[in-house]
């Protein structure tokens, strides 16, 4: 199985889970969504970073 392919494939679902969680926190938790949305960017960045890491691994 190609790891890079897998990493980019799971990105969507993970982003979806994070988005759902932030909206749930908006509904029930202390933080409104307009305060927490940067988490989405951070998670996306982390996922891209992991993907980049696996590309280097398979490349070397």
């Amino acid at each position: 199985m190609n790891n890079t392919n897998l990493m980019s494939a799971i990105r969507g679902p993970i982003m979806l889970i994070v988005l759902g969680s932030l909206l749930a926190v908006d509904q029930f938790g202390p933080y409104p969504f307009w305060r927490t949305w940067p988490v989405l960017i951070i998670v996306y960045g982390v996922l891209r970073l992991l993907e980049w890491g696996t590309v280097r691994q398979t490349g070397s």
Binding site: M1, I10, P13, L16, L19, G20, L23, F28
Partner: protein, 487 residues
């Protein structure tokens, strides 16, 4: 060949079932459940897709491992749109409570509301009693009167499936009203009822004027007026309106749509969080510490104001005019310094601030209008933004202005010497000698000019810029059963 996701058929079945149940059993109010818990649909969706992808990755044919398609994202957007719409509609239609951690209490939304009147009860109480009111959910209006007694009346609403359940819950949660010496307690005892039946109580309470009042709640508004003693409000989510309070005021809310106090003879301390804050005619010191996302307005405060939020700090010695703060804007007029503000990203407008003013912003324009003599000592710094200072024509001051990248415009030609090198410019000198005015911007223009006649007028009420667009979020339900008056 690529197999499509299982989520789409599941979603179709779920939507069909939802509408069918809603049509057959409208009393279950399933839409209300959807309005509340729809974000978990997105989480479940993500989990299912993650599982699908992992399974196909482990399986033999790795070429089927693909991410989410554009069409699927469009469907996600559609779900968010409908979820937020239903949530908004339901939020307006119903004033359910929402607080605390996640509570999966589907039962809470079942059933229908039953109303019970709370007949008026009256007990004598000392004039300087301490009154403790605990009402977890619901509004309370507390008014001071000349009488020597405390009266309580109101209305209780219990949401339950059957009348008998509601009756039982009503009996379990009878109002406690006790006077012990100097202490009066009024408890609604809603926590005694289990089984997820929701109780809200709206209370009308009158107390002797000289009492001090302490209220605790989780969700609901408090309106307190004409009390000479101290007032203490503590709630997870409350609109708080206070008027004619003689003693010290303390308000602690985790959330709130508005905190308003007018005519307070002593100090006021506000902490926690919320949206709007409005304070007017306060004779004592004002302390605000917390995060408030709406508009903040201070008017006529006779002692110092200290404000501190995660992003902004400001303090001022006294305020005969007003100060107004929104997300990206701060304006203050007719204040006695020392005034100081530190903020990350705000445009700052000062009109007739005396003594001294110190402004330090990371991003934002600063403008100062001073039409009175003597001019205040100014220290204005912004990392990115223009600085505009208007002083009376006969002003006497010393000046030192610096911009790393920008121009300097000077109306007070004679004594000020301008030098520029490359992109930076510098203006320094003395006009008759006087308080020091220091200005520094890394990127932006600096203007020193003569204030026009009447320039301070009309600028006192700098319009607050429109709020940034809100996320897909429903308007918070407002509790307004008491027909709280707004001015």
């Amino acid at each position: 060949m690529r197999r499509s996701t299982i989520v789409v058929p599941l979603l179709l079945i779920a939507v069909g079932a939802l509408f069918l149940i809603n049509n057959l059993r409208p009393d279950l109010s399933l839409l209300r459940l959807v309005a509340r818990y729809w974000p978990f649909l997105l989480i479940a969706w993500g989990v299912i897709r993650l599982a699908e992808i992992s399974i196909s990755a482990i399986g033999a044919d790795s070429s089927t491992t693909r991410g989410m398609s554009g069409g699927e994202w469009a469907l996600v957007a559609l779900v968010i749109f409908f979820g937020a719409t239903i949530q908004g509609a339901m939020g307006l239609a119903d004033n359910w409570s929402h607080f605390g951690p996640i509570r999966i209490h589907g039962m809470r939304w079942l059933g229908q509301p039953f109303d019970y009147p709370i007949p008026e009860q009256k007990q004598d109480a000392p004039k300087s009693a301490h009154i403790i009111i605990e009402n977890l959910r619901g509004n309370a209006r507390i008014t001071g009167t000349g009488a020597d007694s405390v009266t309580v009346s109101g209305r209780k609403t219990i949401r339950a499936l059957r009348q008998s359940d509601a009756d039982a819950a009503n009996k379990q949660s009878l109002l406690d009203f006790a006077v012990q010496g100097n202490r009066v307690t009024i408890r609604t005892n809603q926590e005694r009822v289990s089984g997820g039946r929701e109780i809200t109580e709206d209370l009308e309470i009158t107390v002797p004027r000289g009492t001090s009042v302490e209220v605790h709640g989780r969700y609901g508004d408090f309106e307190i007026s004409d009390i000479d003693g101290e007032v203490d409000v503590d709630s997870d989510n409350a609109g708080v309106r206070l008027q004619n309070i003689g003693g010290r005021i303390r308000v602690d809310t985790r959330r709130s749509d508005i905190i308003r106090a007018s005519n307070a003879a002593a100090g006021i301390e506000i902490k926690g969080g919320g949206q709007d804050v409005e304070l007017e005619n306060i004779k004592g010191q004002v302390l605000v510490n917390g995060s408030y996302s709406g508009d903040l307005q201070f008017r006529n405060v006779e002692k110092a104001i200290h404000f501190e939020s995660p992003r902004t700090r400001f303090e001022v010695g006294r305020l005969s005019g007003q100060a107004r703060m929104s997300l990206g804007d701060f304006s203050i007029s007719d204040a006695v310094g020392p005034f100081r503000i530190t903020a990350k990203s705000k445009d700052v407008h000062l009109v007739n601030v005396t003594n001294s003013a110190e402004v330090d912003v990371k991003r934002g324009d600063i403008d100062v209008v001073s039409t009175k003599m003597p001019v205040p000592r100014l220290n204005l710094r912004t990392a990115a933004g223009n600085i505009d200072v208007a002083l009376p024509a006969q002003a006497k001051f010393e000046l030192h202005a610096d911009t790393r990248r920008g121009d300097i415009n000077n109306d007070f030609g004679e004594g000020l010497k301008q030098t520029s090198s490359g992109r930076s410019a510098n203006l320094a000198g003395s006009v008759g000698g006087g308080p020091l005015i220091q200005m520094e911007t890394l990127r932006g223009d600096i203007t020193v000019r003569r204030a026009g006649a009447g320039e301070e007028l009309g600028r006192n009420l700098t319009p607050v810029p429109p709020k940034p667009p809100l996320p897909p979020k429903a308007p918070r339900p407002k509790v307004s059963n008491l027909e709280v008056q707004t001015q």
